[in-house]
Structure formats: C-alpha cells, structure tokens
C-alpha cells in the first residue's frame, strides 16, 4: 500500500467512529518500487494531501529523508521537491503490517501489500 492511499484512508466506516483519521501504521515489511515521475500529477495531489499526516507516516517508516516539515511555497516549479514527494507518496510501499484505527484501536491487517478493510457484522 502506497502512502498516498494511506493519506486518503479512514476508518470512519466502523460504527461509532466519527473521524477515524489518520490511521496509525505499524509496518513490519516495507519496500521501495520505481514508478514513472509525473510532475503534473504530484503537484495536483499536493493540495489534496494532509501534509502532516504524510510526514508522520514517512517518519514512522523511517523514510522521511530530507522531506521538509511543511509544504514549501511555489512547489509547482521546484522539481527537486516534487521528486521527493513523488518518492514518498508513490514509491514507498507497505507490504506487511497493520493499520490501527485512532479511535477504537481496531487493527486492519496488510497482507502482501493489500490492506484488509473488511468489517465484521457487529462493527457496521
């Protein structure tokens, strides 16, 4: 699972959870892949991202590198910055581990890169 997806994912489908964001990451296996860099897409996604959440997630995986803590100004024209974001957002993948709901502590297991978001009947 990419960190971009993590940035969008919530656990609000569980009954009684109002926000369910951000999910905590407990990763046991992380890999890095290579995906074509598309500056247009990255700069389009940056305003949509919850930056502190992305930073936190990258930090918890130890992949934060020299990513700035805040979004820099004029990021559209800073290719170096876009490349860093691209790497964190799309190329870092969680292969195995757990996602943890911040409100209920419910664990969503990630197996082989696929998070299991299925809920039990009593949680809906």
């Amino acid at each position: 699972m990419k960190l971009l997806t993590h940035n969008m994912l919530t656990s609000k489908c569980i009954k009684g959870v109002s926000v369910g964001y951000p999910l905590k990451i407990n990763a046991s296996d992380v890999k890095e892949t290579e995906i074509d860099f598309n500056p247009e897409f990255v700069s389009k996604m940056i305003p949509k991202l919850d930056w502190p959440v992305l930073y936190e997630a990258a930090d918890s995986l130890g992949k934060v590198g020299d990513l700035p803590k805040n979004i820099i100004e004029n990021f559209e024209n800073d290719e170096d910055f876009l490349k860093k974001v691209h790497h964190i957002m799309l190329e870092v993948e969680i292969v195995n581990g757990n996602l943890i709901c911040p409100e209920t502590g419910r664990k969503f297991p990630i197996n082989n890169g696929i998070p299991n978001m299925l809920l039990n009947e009593d949680e809906i």
Binding site: T5, C13, N112, I114
Partner: protein, 274 residues
C-alpha cells in the same frame, strides 16, 4: 446462462480458479476493456491531465490497466481476495484494497477525481447474509462515495440490472445520497451489445450524456418515437374526409365488425340540396 450473483456471494464465487479463468479469457478481457474505455469517456475527465480515480470492484485490475494506459492513477476496491491476488501478480500500478462496498468507501472527503466500476454494482442488490439489507447497503455505499469524491466529479457504473425494479432501486438510492444523473443505455436495441451505465454527478444537474447506438447511424432499427411524433404533428385526418372514412372502415374490418363495402359513393360529398 444463470447470473453469477445467484450462485454465491462475490467473495466465494470469485475463488482462485474463477479469478484465473476471468483474467485469461480474451473475450472477457476485450469486453471489460471496451466497457472501461466507455466508462472513462462518460466520466468527462479534464483532457491530458492525470487524475486520481477510484475503481470499485476492480477485480484482477483489467479496468485498472485501462486507467493506467490513459495516464491516470487509481485505487481499487474488491471483496474477492483471489481476484486481488491475480491483480497483484499482474503487477498493476494502482493500489489494491480488500473492502466490501456495501460497508461504505473508507476514504476521507474529496479524495478522488472520479470513480468507475465495471460489472460490480449488481452484486450489491443481493442479500448474501442475513444481516445484509440491500437498500441500506446501497445507501451506505452511495452516501460514502458521494463524500469521498471531489466536487464536479462523476462516478460511472457499468452494471447488469436484473430487472427494471432493480435499476429503479439503485438509481433512487443514488439520488437519495445526493447524486444527480441516471442510467445511460448503450445499444438499447441489441440484446448482446446492450450496456447499462449509471452515470452519477456530484455538481449540479447536467444533462445526461448521449447513449451509443440510438442514432440513425446504428445498424439496428432506429427508435420510432420520432416517427410517432411526426405522425402526431400531422394529426388525424379530418373526419369528413374520405381518407378518414376509409381508414375507419378498415379499422373496424380488422376488428371483425360488419362493414359496408367501399364504392365510388363512399365518403362522397352530399349535394347542396340536402
């Protein structure tokens, strides 16, 4: 052929064997690709701009590959682990997730620029467990989908409704969740090529896109509403006119009623003396 929805729930029907069959059958692949291309066309995405899309019921990622080809990034949901495993093997670029769409879309508000779904929505109309209530599940799905789409985004679902009630049910739940839109039927006169697309829009009531294969250029018989309209425009012939009388006699003859035979005197104008 009986519908797969009636055989077993999706997570059981699409087991390892079925998932493999599904992804190796070139005919299925062709159809899926065609339908997905059409769905993207209906999404009306901004041209030449990569978008972040949601693929609901992505299965083995056949539709996702089409999205990739067009330069978009996607996240796929599916309930079948076997299908997702096949997708993982095919090394699709999108992110995959095991989720039940009836439980809602687990994303934060305004995440996606659009959503596509190919041959998945009809599964939601079935109650596979005693706790499943299709109406509630449909509503939960549509309302959570509405929330996770950005404004002016669209969601296009290709699906196989079993009957008109089912279509009505799905559309009404989508409208209840706040969407505008309706069903576009491509090639309505062909039994094989006929395809249903539920086009849902979040921003304002825009006219629905035109269906394919309804115009005069199609090979089938074109829809006769136009002729009907023309006929109405012409109106019925005046009652006193001979043609009207002949028409009426013909009509009554067809009904099996006794009708005088036609002669040169039929419907003749009376002389002024009368």
């Amino acid at each position: 052929m009986s519908r797969p929805e009636y055989l077993a729930p999706p997570e059981i029907f699409y087991n390892a064997e079925e998932a493999r069959k599904y992804t190796q059958n070139s005919r299925i692949i062709d159809i899926q690709v065609q339908m997905c291309e059409r769905a993207i066309e209906l999404l009306l995405l901004p041209e030449d701009s990569p978008c972040y899309l949601l693929d609901i019921g992505c299965g083995s990622g056949l539709s996702g590959s089409v999205l990739e080809d067009q330069g978009h990034y996607w996240v796929g949901l599916d309930i079948s682990t076997a299908m997702l495993d096949v997708a993982q093997e095919r090394e699709v670029e999108g992110d995959l997730m095991l989720a039940d769409m009836g439980q809602g879309c687990p994303f934060k508000a305004g995440s996606f620029d659009g959503a596509v779904s190919i041959s998945a929505l009809q599964w939601l109309c079935n109650a596979d467990k005693s706790s499943h209530k299709p109406v509630q599940r449909l509503y939960k799905f549509f309302s959570s989908l509405y929330a996770c789409l950005s404004r002016s985004a669209r969601a296009v679902f290709q699906f196989y409704p079993d009957n008109s009630e089912q279509m009505e049910l799905v559309t009404s739940q989508a409208m209840k969740a706040g969407f505008y839109g309706g069903v576009v039927v491509d090639f309505p006169h062909s039994t094989k090529a006929k395809k249903f697309f539920l086009v849902l829009m979040t921003g304002g009531n825009v006219p629905l896109p035109k269906a394919l294969g309804t115009g005069e250029d199609s090979q089938g018989v074109s829809y006769t509403a136009k002729r009907e309209k023309l006929k109405n425009q012409r109106g019925k012939p005046l009652k006193s006119v001979r043609t009207w009388i002949l028409e009426k006699k013909e009509r009554r003859k067809r009904q099996g009623k006794e009708v005088r035979h036609n002669s040169k005197y039929t419907g003749r104008k009376r002389s002024g003396k009368f």
